[in-house]
């Protein structure tokens, strides 16, 4: 089974801090994604990557950036955290037409 590991389950950060959310997968999948989940809004795509050093904006990229230096690792960066970025962040991987495998999520609270 593909394992997708998100480094933290819960994080509390202060407004204005730079925040790094890490995601590591162990099955050599090309595609990696970052979503956030909010009540009533479902899962919204922030950024995705189809290959190393490659990134594409999703539907809500503002306030975020990403890094993919190695195939197995996809990092989401909040350049200057704000309270409206309090959310559940979900990383996912995929290969081909088989759907996603998600990590367990990181619940981020910005105070």
């Amino acid at each position: 089974d593909v394992k997708v590991t998100q480094s933290s389950r819960y994080l509390v950060k202060r407004t204005g801090e730079k925040v790094f959310l890490e995601c590591v997968q162990d099955m050599d999948h090309e595609n990696m994604f970052w979503y956030r989940q909010d009540p009533g809004l479902g899962l919204r795509l922030i950024y995705f990557s189809y290959d190393v050093k490659m990134k594409e904006k999703g539907d809500i990229p503002e306030g975020y950036s990403v890094s993919r230096e190695k195939k197995e690792r996809f990092s989401l960066i909040l350049e200057s955290a704000s309270t409206n970025q309090t959310s559940m962040y979900l990383c996912a991987t995929s290969r081909g037409n088989y759907g996603y495998t998600f990590g367990s999520g990181t619940r981020l609270t910005v105070v």
């Binding site: 979503y35 479902g42 899962l43 995929s94």
Partner: protein, 113 residues
């Protein structure tokens, strides 16, 4: 612009009965549809999928129906069990070259004894 819509935010069903979760989409280019199940504090897990060349796919207690003309799909769970209580997301994608999924807003299913 919500391309995938789940108009029922919640559903409550008695154990043993059928649960029907609905999903509508607007993009006629979508050709593959999936359902995910999510428990609190966990990531979504894949449940069942259907290609646009089919109108039904069944896997145990779970069946997904696709009505392309109505741009509508539904997930049937029979019989419903308390362990099915979770949030269910439908998702869609288009084209063979992209893996990007568009998710709906989710439906919270509660199965009571």
């Amino acid at each position: 612009d919500q391309q995938v819509k789940q108009n029922s935010p919640s559903l409550s069903v008695q154990e043993g009965r059928i649960s029907i979760l609905n999903c509508d989409y607007t993009n006629s280019m979508f050709d593959y549809f999936l359902w995910y199940k999510k428990y609190p504090a966990e990531g979504p897990t894949f449940l069942i999928s259907i290609s646009s060349i089919k109108d039904k796919n069944e896997d145990g207690r779970f069946t997904v129906f696709l009505n392309k003309s109505a741009k509508h799909l539904s997930l049937h769970i029979v019989p419903s069990q308390p362990g099915d209580s979770a949030v269910y997301f439908c998702a869609a994608k288009s084209g063979a070259t992209t893996d990007k999924l568009i998710f709906g807003t989710g439906t919270r299913l509660q199965v009571f004894p």
